[in-house]
């Protein structure tokens, strides 16, 4: 309450809302004075951590160009695991795993996002007794270890729901169940910041409920829908436990499953090549998704900033609340 009134009396002084540190003259020397040895130490920890977390992966990529059968001893440069008879693209096991992983990911995204977004709208707009327990149950997969959910779904599929067969169908069912709570968390977070007023206004102006939904709510939800799709894709591609428990034959082996079974064996560097293909594709697809996300959510930054910088608005909001 206090913040709102103070800024209201000093309107339209925009600097009031800025933190005091940035109001001071900030020349290069003034900034240097604040740099302390502790911060340099912290920066060193960050650089060290990032190197530790990423360099091993880069080394694994490099080994896909190894001129030999070892995945740990460097024997010279060669592209034999990328092109030619020994290559990753010529081995049906690797090729199938890559294809199957992408199949699963596309289907999982296509099912989870509409299912999760519509359920989130229901959960946040429904005023009834079912809402709270349903919200809790749909997020349960987040608070139990994945193996418990995988085992539970395995028993459900093999002992009760015989129409879901182990293999692609069960893998999709499992991944959707596992990813659904993430979509719900993302979408409900966004829904919480969209007041129902937009849809009510649309309906007051003569829109039918369906039009209000399509023309007011869905565009406002677009960033959350995109974010959900990106997360769902990344989680599906990376998923191991549920995909493994729901699998049946070698034809339903995904890339993480193949890496798990082949890593300790005598697999050639083609394994590293496959992992590289997967990682690069995932990074590229999620980056494109992120750029699209930035594009979609860019439009609304204008009203958001306006709300933060216009001092009278907080008072208005508090007055009506």
């Amino acid at each position: 309450m206090g913040g709102g009134t103070v800024s209201a009396t000093q309107a339209p002084g925009r600097a009031v809302n800025l933190p005091p540190s940035s109001a001071q003259p900030a020349g290069p020397w003034a900034r240097l004075r604040h740099v302390r040895w502790a911060n340099i130490g912290l920066a060193a920890v960050v650089v060290g951590y990032l190197a530790w977390s990423l360099v091993p992966v880069l080394i694994a990529f490099v080994f896909s160009f190894n001129n030999g059968y070892s995945r740990s001893i460097w024997q010279g440069f060669s592209t034999q695991w990328w092109t030619g008879p020994n290559s990753v693209f010529n081995d049906p096991t690797y090729y199938n795993a890559i294809r199957h992983s992408f199949e699963l990911a596309i289907l999982a995204v296509a099912i989870t996002v509409p299912l999760g977004v519509s359920l989130s709208i229901f959960l946040s707009r429904w005023r009834g007794v079912t809402s709270k327990p349903a919200a809790f149950l749909s997020t349960v997969p987040l608070v139990i270890p994945e193996i418990v959910l995988a085992l539970a779904m395995f028993f459900l599929v093999t002992k009760l729901l015989h129409f879901v067969t182990l293999g692609t169908t069960a893998q999709i069912a499992g991944q959707v169940t596992f990813i659904l709570p993430l979509v719900i968390v993302i979408t409900r977070g966004r829904l919480a910041s969209i007041p129902t007023g937009f849809e009510e206004a649309a309906m007051d102006l003569g829109a039918s409920p369906l039009q209000a939904f399509r023309l007011a709510l869905i565009p406002l939800l677009a960033p959350a829908i995109l974010a959900s799709a990106i997360v769902a894709f990344a989680v599906s591609i990376d998923d191991f436990v549920i995909t493994q428990y729901m699998s049946s034959t070698a034809a339903t082996q995904s890339v993480p499953m193949l890496i798990y079974t082949a890593t300790r064996g005598t697999a050639t560097p083609a394994l590293n090549a496959m992992a590289t293909v997967m990682a690069l594709t995932t990074v590229v697809i999620t980056s494109l998704g992120y750029l699209l996300y930035r594009f979609v959510s860019r439009r609304e930054q204008v009203p958001q900033f306006a709300r933060e910088e216009t001092p009278t608005v907080p008072v208005l909001v508090e007055g009506t609340a």
């Binding site: 960050v46 749909s138 139990i144 428990y245 890496i259």
Partner: protein, 297 residues
């Protein structure tokens, strides 16, 4: 606002999905854990009706895991120890990283964030694959450590060393610790640090009395996000050790689940683990609910 039938049509598919694949699935897990055994095939038979429940499997596993005296207690103890060490390491390494990125990073912030998220896009298995290559007897880790005389030639890191498994757990899960911690610290109002300095507190005092208490929710969230999957983790162990002496609870569940005749035991361990984790989670859920209420107020 919307007509009820519209909302019901929106929610119904999701509600049916959750009822089927979460609620009913967990019930199936319990039904197996309290079920019987097919006399011929020796496969588990679920007891769907509470009238047919039997506690055989749950007590078998219960005595197995009996504190301090059960034959499998050591596995549980080991799991807790590995996770505790991993969490401590996540905190020691992850906190400074998240703190720097959230509070001090300026122009480099976007880059650091992208690099922090990158491991989540590179699959977990691939990151383990990378270390299997590096830690192999002729690998690059030994190429550095053997000449320094730290380990003997051809030292095999992957033959079931607890240190390798814990290292793998830390390496595998620390990105998942840093992200929620960063998200919490990014909301941190740095003016509190200035206030603390103005009031005469030193750097350490400020950290202990201002920064740390204010990042409690982030630390808790990171801990939960990382500890939960670690309790079910069997693949880190499988890739980096594969030996019984480093088995964790997840390994036990997975091993039982692989053999048809032991699947009921897998269900029973899973039920016990879930109960244990639910008790462990309660304080977190309570404190995060309190924090949400405080923010709302």
């Amino acid at each position: 606002m919307y007509p009820r039938r519209y909302l019901i049509a929106l929610g119904l598919p999701g509600l049916i999905w959750v009822a089927l694949f979460v609620t009913l699935a967990l019930y199936a897990l319990i039904a197996i854990a309290v079920g019987g055994l097919d006399p011929l095939l020796l496969t588990p038979v679920p007891a769907w009706s509470p009238l047919h429940w039997s506690s055989t499997w749950l007590t078998t596993v219960g005595t197995d895991l009996k504190p301090f005296s059960g034959p499998n207690w050591i596995v549980f103890e080991r799991t807790c120890l590995y996770i505790a060490i991993s969490l401590a390491a996540c905190m020691l390494v992850g906190y400074p990283v998240a703190y720097f990125t959230a509070v001090h990073a300026r122009r480099s912030k976007g880059l650091i964030l992208a690099l922090l998220v990158a491991p989540l896009l590179v699959s977990y298995m691939l990151r383990m694959l990378a270390w299997v290559g590096l830690l192999a007897p002729g690998g690059w880790v030994n190429a550095v450590l053997v000449p320094l005389g730290i380990v003997p030639p051809q030292f095999d890191w992957l033959s079931g060393l607890p240190v390798t498994v814990v290292f793998g757990l830390i390496y595998g899960w620390i990105p998942y610790f840093i992200i929620p911690l960063y998200a919490a610290l990014a909301r941190f109002d740095t003016r509190y640090l200035e206030a603390s300095r103005d009031l005469g507190a030193g750097g350490l005092q400020t950290f202990l009395h201002v920064t740390l208490p204010m990042s409690k929710q982030g630390i808790l969230a990171g801990t939960v996000v990382v500890a939960l999957p670690m309790f079910g983790d069997f693949f880190t162990n499988g890739l980096l050790s594969g030996v019984n002496t480093t088995a964790m609870v997840g390994t036990v569940i997975n091993t039982y689940a692989q053999s048809q005749t032991d699947q009921a035991l897998a269900a029973a361990v899973a039920v016990w683990l879930t109960v244990f984790l639910a008790i462990l989670l309660l304080p977190y859920l309570r404190s995060s609910a309190r924090a949400t209420r405080a923010v709302a107020r």
